[in-house]
């Protein structure tokens, strides 16, 4: 499979400087009295894959939703490809960047949802071309050609005219990955991409994500698939109760770390 065409866009610009493509510093978020994210900091370089693991309710998904602007947060700094999501300093009350900057950042961050969230009234190809045509102003024929190429990469050739309801869950999730890629994002976020799938369909989605990783797509993946998290990632981050308990290379997190909460979590997982 060939992701070269996306790849050129993905690494452009990012490869020239060495600063991380994603930087999060001291991010804090609460729902009322409940502190969901207590003090999250992380860094990710272009072309790297970060897996986020942790028990349910640890704040993984909320963190992803903060980084993709689906939730607001109360404090912290987030920098995506050199652009600041927040313009206030760390010790000041939070102030977000102007709307046009937020939108630019949003367009450079794709999100693959747990429940796909495809547009059911549009065909597979229309799902892929709507935003490129309407948002980026790409000519219709060009957008359709890109869409067809992405479908081919996802192993979905011939499904252009199908409606999402006619596809299996695994196929729908691959369409939603293609839809996110159609905007040529700099970072692709995955929010438990296989949690809504039957076990036999999980593999086909994970295979696609692995291929993206091999093509050096920058990705942040929240997942409960431990073996996958270990194999695909350059970096693994373990969260529990709103804090980053441990982070490092997959080997460090899965094999070497002596952290008690982490080993208890991994223990529970291997038992299940």
């Amino acid at each position: 499979m060939d992701f070269a065409n996306n790849q050129s866009v993905i690494t452009n610009g990012a490869s020239q400087d060495t600063s991380p493509i994603l930087e999060v510093k001291h991010l804090k978020k609460s729902f009322g009295d409940l502190h969901v994210l207590k003090d999250i900091s992380l860094e990710l370089n272009a072309g790297e894959v970060l897996s986020i693991i942790g028990p349910s309710g640890s704040g993984k998904s909320t963190l992803l939703r903060c980084l993709t602007q689906l939730e607001t947060f109360e404090a912290g700094e987030v920098r995506v490809d050199g652009k600041n999501l927040v313009v206030s300093a760390l010790n000041e009350p939070i102030k977000y960047a102007p709307a046009n900057v937020l939108r630019e950042i949003r367009l450079s961050t794709g999100l693959v949802f747990q429940n796909f969230n495809l547009f059911p009234h549009l065909t597979v190809l229309q799902n892929l071309t709507l935003a490129p045509i309407r948002v980026l102003g790409i000519p219709r024929e060009e957008a359709r050609a890109t869409g067809r190429r992405l479908l081919k990469q996802m192993g979905l050739e011939g499904k252009e005219k199908s409606y999402p309801c006619e596809l299996s869950g695994g196929q729908q999730q691959r369409v939603s990955i293609a839809r996110a890629l159609a905007l040529k994002p700099k970072i692709l976020f995955f929010d438990e991409p296989t949690s809504a799938l039957d076990p036999e369909l999980t593999g086909e989605v994970l295979k696609i994500i692995k291929q993206l990783a091999e093509d050096r797509m920058t990705m942040v993946i929240v997942t409960h698939e431990m073996a996958f998290a270990r194999d695909v990632a350059n970096k693994v981050l373990f969260m529990d109760q709103g804090v980053v308990v441990e982070q490092g290379t997959p080997d460090f997190v899965f094999n070497q770390s002596q952290n008690k909460r982490l080993s208890a979590f991994l223990e529970r997982f291997s038992r299940n």
């Binding site: 949003r106 969230n117 059911p120 935003a131 309407r134």
Partner: protein
């Protein structure tokens, strides 16, 4: 059957008035209903509360009374204010029907809009669609499919409700049939009028069944 040949043209004239009330009411009440639905979902109480009150009055009082109120009310208010904004009979009927049906349509549309999963908005947001693009390209097409069955109910009820216009002496189908009933000293004209309503609604039911089938290309 010579009776029928004189009766039919008379009733046909009334039926045309009925059709006019029907068509004009739909023309005004559907867009107004959509607007009311959106206003009722406003995050501002100062907009939401009056809209809720309007809907509760429209649904909580007889349409018959509303027609009378619009017609005579506008007349008396004009007298009182010294500015003539009173309605003629036919426009009064259209106004009363439109604001009444808009309230019902609004609730149907609101239900439809609120039944669209939040994920659809989030996906559109992540793809950079504007709020208007999200509403017109993602939400509204899905709402249409969901509200067709309930709207069909309202539309079919409207055909029959048009007979209420006779309360302020608008000579629609049923009013004319009643006049003929007196002339013929028979309820026969009323039955013929009933056939008119029935055929109209039969055609509408077929139309809506067709629309539902057409919209069934996705789930």
């Amino acid at each position: 059957m010579s009776e029928l040949s004189t009766l039919l043209p008379i009733l046909w004239g009334g039926f045309c008035t009925t059709l006019a009330i029907f068509a004009l009411t739909l023309l005004f009440s559907i867009p107004l209903g959509l607007l009311v639905a959106v206003l009722k979902m406003s995050r501002y109480r100062i907009i939401r509360y009056p809209v809720s009150f309007y809907i509760s009055v429209m649904r909580g009082t007889p349409l018959l009374l509303q027609i009378v109120a619009i017609y005579f009310g506008s007349y008396y208010l004009s007298e009182y204010a010294g500015v003539d904004f009173s309605f003629d009979r036919f426009p009064a009927v259209i106004v009363a029907f439109s604001i009444n049906y808009a309230a019902y349509f609004a609730e149907i549309f609101r239900g439809g809009i609120q039944s669209i999963p939040k994920g659809q908005y989030e996906a559109a947001y992540m793809l950079g669609l504007t709020r208007a693009q999200t509403f017109y390209r993602i939400i509204l097409p899905q709402v249409v499919k969901r509200v067709v069955p309930a709207s069909a109910n309202e539309v079919i009820t409207l055909v029959k409700d048009t007979s209420l216009a006779q309360v302020i002496a608008v000579t629609e189908l049923f009013a004319l049939a009643k006049k003929q009933q007196a002339a013929y000293a028979s309820i026969y004209p009323l039955f013929v009028a009933g056939v008119f309503y029935y055929i109209a609604n039969l055609l509408l039911s077929m139309f809506f069944a067709y629309v539902e089938r057409k919209l069934n290309y996705y789930k």
